[in-house]
Point group: C2
Chain length 375, copies 2
């Protein structure tokens, strides 16, 4: 059996893009089909299209709704590498950046004006993402030239606007009801802000942790104790945000922790320094979802972030991360808030994936529908 797919770069990820009908025609559950196409389980994914790293073992499943305001619905799948399993639990901001470009390249959306607007909806989270793609002279440039940090080659300019992103996980921007809360861990009281926008995030000041903002890169040089303290703060925050009944039951992935600091004194190009923790470790950059949460926090009076910035009214926020500056933007219109970041995207290859027919694929969950598998 042959399956059509586009291989696209979205931001700093490589993403395999399938139209839902291409997967459904195999009559196999995507929980079984995607790992086989990717070559999982195998730490090298040597017999499939997966790239054997978390940022290159990703799939996007696209679908055109029959009616309504949404141009494209999409489901993100994090395909396991050593495990033949798929995680449907979250969206990927980087892969999101391929959806609008795909729609234009396939003729689903006709470019209009210098910037074409595509309304997309992520089914993992229910988040509407308005995509704005540079289409000078009402077309995609033959030679895309937009650059972004972390990618050495240019691509098409894509603005990703998260529509009213607050409360997608817990129902509220401030799940505890307060802009700042005091958490007591190890006899010490910590003032933190807990926000839910893009992803649930706990925000704490570097100064409160005794970290020197001028020595940003050295914060985690062997400071195991600091990581342990932050993990305990994170677990208490999980309870306060209603994400877990007890600290012991808190999930590993959420909430995330963000440490905020003044940018280094030599840095004129950013508003705030950010170090994010993900899965218990310092993140080399900043997930797009995390940047959305920090932007909402910056806009909300009373949060650690808002006070830290001395109030905030700018339409853009420049976040200094270990990997460079990430700029977010915010727009209010017609009672809605759009918060976003700019990425680049490009189609690497148009492909037909060969699926050798084996019993392994058809047996376990044959007939399960995509909609069911992806909630």
């Amino acid at each position: 059996m042959k399956i059509q797919a586009e291989w696209m770069r979205g931001g700093t990820s490589k993403c395999w893009v399938f139209e839902s009908a291409q997967l459904e025609k195999t009559q196999a559950s995507p929980d079984v089909l995607l790992p086989r196409l990717f070559g999982s389980p195998d730490h090298r994914q040597i017999d499939g299209v997966g790239g054997a790293t978390s940022t290159t073992s990703k799939a996007m499943i696209l679908h055109r709704p029959q009616a309504g305001d949404v141009d494209v619905e999409f489901t993100f799948a994090q395909v396991g590498i050593e495990e033949a399993a798929v995680d449907w639990g979250s969206n990927c901001g980087n892969c999101s950046a391929v959806v609008g470009l795909y729609a234009i390249e396939k003729g689903w959306v006709v470019p209009r004006g210098d910037v074409t607007r595509i309304v997309t909806r992520n089914t993992n989270t229910g988040q509407i993402i308005i995509q704005r793609i540079a289409t000078p002279d009402a077309g995609l440039p033959a030679e895309p030239l937009a650059e972004m940090p972390g990618v050495p080659f240019p691509g098409h300019q894509v603005g990703l606007g998260f529509l009213d992103p607050a409360g997608k996980t817990t129902g509220r921007l401030l799940p505890s009801g307060a802009a700042t809360d005091a958490l007591t861990v190890g006899g010490t009281t910590w003032n933190v802000s807990m926000v839910d926008a893009g992803a649930p995030v706990v925000i704490i000041r570097a100064e409160d942790l005794g970290l020197d903002p001028e020595a940003y890169e050295s914060w985690f040089g062997g400071v195991e104790l600091l990581l342990q303290t932050l993990e305990r703060i994170r677990r208490q925050a999980a309870v306060r945000m209603g994400l877990a009944a007890t600290a012991g039951e808190a999930a590993r992935a959420i909430p995330k922790v963000a440490i905020v600091a003044p940018p280094p004194s030599t840095d004129q190009g950013s508003d705030v320094g950010i170090m994010m923790l993900s899965m218990g470790k310092p993140h080399p950059a900043l997930a797009i979802t995390g940047s959305i949460a920090l932007t909402l926090a910056a806009r909300t009076p009373g949060t650690v972030m808002h006070r830290f910035l001395g109030g905030f009214a700018s339409p853009t926020l420049r976040l200094r991360t270990p990997a460079g500056v990430i700029e977010t933007w915010s727009e209010e219109r017609d009672g809605s808030l759009l918060v976003g970041v700019d990425r680049t995207a490009r189609t690497i290859a148009s492909t037909t994936i060969h699926l050798p027919e084996t019993l392994d694929i058809k047996a376990p969950k044959a007939g399960a529908s995509l909609a069911g598998a992806t909630r």
Copy 2:
């Protein structure tokens, strides 16, 4: 510009397979074109088809000769990852296994009988490789089922026979003229065999190095001194084999070093234990070229290997490596010797790679011909 390519697994490698005309039509030098298609320079190859590891950043360029006995000529390209450069200096045994399968799938060779024979020639080394592919009922099985160590999924069975592999680098099977030589390093005399077949290899007995064959896995546990001694032996051998004028000038990649030992007493499934050193480090398995050299050595009276095995007359040789047993086979016919191994291969995807037109690609070496670049 769009470039057709098949993405194939050959043995334990993933290989991008191009017909030479597809690359030539770009009018760009493959030294510039291939790195751009693969996304190099970038340690993640995030904007191209490369897999960011040495075994997944490989290209094969295929060409059908107009006349003669060779069905397919092929050139192997090791595409740099952090460097925008291509290494044309050697062949890849694993990627070689895709050539015959490609020829059948594209209709270049019509399957005949249960096993179809394809004559291929590698242009990097001049080596003729006779490929034999399982074609039951004169066709490729729809669901290939051949297994091999190191690959968790099945593929098509491919026998790779190296035709008269002796002396491809130095002109002689025994470049020093002797089956065994004494090399003096650090006041100690070492009896080694130096053979050139597939690749130049120096063979030395584990016993001479004071290594316990029953504790195979522990040989290199922190034994920096042992590696230094072997490196000095290797460099002397390079001079004796005519590969370098002085020990100091010896190349890093050749000759390779093979340590031979009796298989562990609990192992009934192999003839000899092998530990190969590659680029100064113990190799986790055994390159195909190295297995060819060891097989020729086993067949040659007077070598360390031949004496070690107490003579050798079997058509197969089972080499125990850290990654499992590799079996080679030998056939003599019509005055020629065919030495080979079996692999599996499979087409992962048929693709059209999108090449964004940029000046970087066309400028540096535009117009250089493939033939010129690959010697």
